[in-house]
Amino acid sequence: MRPSRIIPWLAALALAGAAAHADIPKRVVSVNLCTDQLAMLVAGPGQLVSVTPLAANPRTSAMAEEAAAIPVNHARAEEVYLLKPDLVIAGRFTDRATVDMLRRLGIRVEEFAPAYALSDVPDRLTRIGALLGQEARAAELVDRFNAQLAELSSSTQDRPQAALYYANGYTSGDASLAGQILRAAGFDNVATGMGYGAIGALPLELLAMADPDVVVTGNPYPGASRSEAIMDHPVVTALKRGRVTGTVTDRNWVCGTPYVLQAVEDLVALRRAVEAGQ
């Protein structure tokens, strides 16, 4: 084929490609910590124009460094509208008034439910990939996630008893992401035995009576609070004394991103330490 004939043919191909990708959003704004990180994982250069300030906070976000380069928004309808997005990605629990307002203004808003299980992670990745037109990148991340998870969750006979204990005396059962992280790392959750599904308040008395092998507590935020003081209660201190203890690092535990594997890995190391101590 002569070059002069190839050029219009290529041009036609490019046009067809452009038509197929006409709905690929060029200006994506994320207004939720978890969608921030999902979007940063798959977005093409310049495609993601704004994330929330939480995404740049190393305490809450596993991708704080990446987020530092992206302008922030505070999930208010007015500022999001002024960013002229062609797609807004939000969490299921993003303020209804904000989401409704953006939709009234004719902006496409896609909502993501929080992850409640490790199996939700590939699901969320695939969806964000499809939305942002980055299917290949998402598929690659999914494959890598599945392989690493399979590697980490090798079966173990001896499953130590663990309890998750956060601010205000809350705990998580198996029907939550945190509970699933605990299970995948080879622990049995005492809260599940007590009938806790997702998240709920675990009275200190019941924690003391359960007497778990390991107490995994939350990591206090700066600026003291009464809510977090419960993790220094003499009973919790006594349960931790002379035992291996773990910490919930929020950045790896809160969102259903591949970074949950880091949390699983930390807990597997914890379980090894428990086994070594016995």
Binding site: A167, N168, G169, G200, A201, P203, L204, E205, L206, A208, M209, A210, D211, Y221, P222, G223, A224, S225, R226, S227, E228, I230, H233, P234, V235, A238
Partner: protein, 327 residues
């Protein structure tokens, strides 16, 4: 008289024991007593000694403080509406406590929390007495109380909203309504010295308050130093309310309801009302704390919700009575 004392003491003792036996962990009564008094450090002993015992002692102690402070203030101002919660003393103490926690003072210095709450309470009492004047007319007293409560409440919320801690905002409810959930012996030791000091100061007011019922001139003639009486009242109230609020939040209405109910039983004599209200307050708060554990055990219902449900109708009744008496 002695019968009243005996029955109130009995009620406090019974409620105290009941408080030790009620909790989310179902432990048989005999086992729990064995855990409390026997040796060992198993889970039952830990639950009894580190969770239920401090809770029961704090309920009795703070209830007694609030009853005593209410009776003393009502005696001094000769006004049945004077009550630490209603006139903003508890709110000011909560503000002091919140500032101590948010500035990190309570973490760096153990007594920082009760001392700041005491300072807050002191500010509240001084403001109320300055605004309401020595005679404390009902209208002025209530207006002053509303102003101080609103200001202290707003500043407390402002401090918590400005905090960089994500949990701080949710704690507004605790500081406004009070709770004894998950308190420990540490909290008891923090509050105890100031509370005891406050009790001694307030209990010493009996003779002066009795004399004051005859009017200020008559009391002066009987050798009562009114300015000294006033100072002791201010310090005593600040000590007990500050210490109580620092560890359990602002619990309202106990100081209003208890003296009101017991006044007829002591022949309206302020000195006798003091100790009777202390016992009655202890019984009321122990009962309220039992109720929050029995009614909605999973929800951490706040103490102030229950005391307000009992106290608010009584308060309306008092206003109605006061209005009828006004010209």
């Amino acid at each position: 008289m002695t019968r009243l004392m005996a029955s109130l003491s009995l009620a406090v003792a019974a409620l105290f024991v009941l408080s030790l036996l009620v909790g989310p962990a179902s432990i048989a009564p005999l086992d729990s007593l064995a855990g409390l008094f026997g040796g060992g450090d198993g889970p039952v002993a830990m639950v009894m000694r580190e969770i239920r015992l401090p809770r029961a002692i704090l309920a009795a102690m703070i209830g007694a403080s609030l009853g005593l402070a209410g009776a003393a203030m009502q005696g001094y101002l000769r006004n049945p509406l004077a009550e630490p919660g209603l006139i903003g003393v508890s709110g000011s103490a909560a503000l002091g406590a919140v500032i101590a926690i948010q500035t990190g003072l309570s973490a760096s210095f153990a007594l920082g929390l009760p001392l700041m709450a005491l300072a807050g309470a002191l500010g509240g009492v001084l403001l109320v007495l300055a605004l309401a004047g020595p005679r404390g007319g009902s209208l002025v007293l209530i207006l002053a109380g509303i102003a101080i409560s609103a200001m202290a409440g707003a500043l407390t919320q402002l401090v918590l909203n400005l905090s960089q801690n994500p949990f701080a905002v949710n704690e507004i409810v605790f500081w406004m309504m009070g709770s004894l959930a998950d308190r420990s012996m540490t909290h008891l030791w923090l509050a105890l010295p100031f509370t005891l000091l406050g009790w001694v100061l307030l209990a010493s007011l009996g003779r002066g308050l009795d004399a004051l019922t005859l009017g200020e001139d008559a009391a002066e003639a009987m050798g009562i130093h009114l300015s000294r009486l006033r100072l002791v009242l201010i310090l005593g109230t600040a000590c007990v309310v500050g210490a109580g609020t620092a560890v359990a939040g602002a619990i309202g209405f106990v100081g209003l309801v208890v003296p009101h109910l017991l006044r007829p039983w002591v022949g309206a004599q302020p000195s006798r009302l003091l100790w009777a209200s202390a016992l009655g307050g202890a019984a009321m708060l122990l009962a309220a704390d039992l109720a929050v554990r029995l009614v909605l055990p999973e929800r951490d219902l706040k103490l102030g919700v229950l005391t307000a449900l009992v106290g608010a109708p009584l308060f309306l009744h008092l206003i109605y009575k006061t209005r009828r008496e006004m010209p």
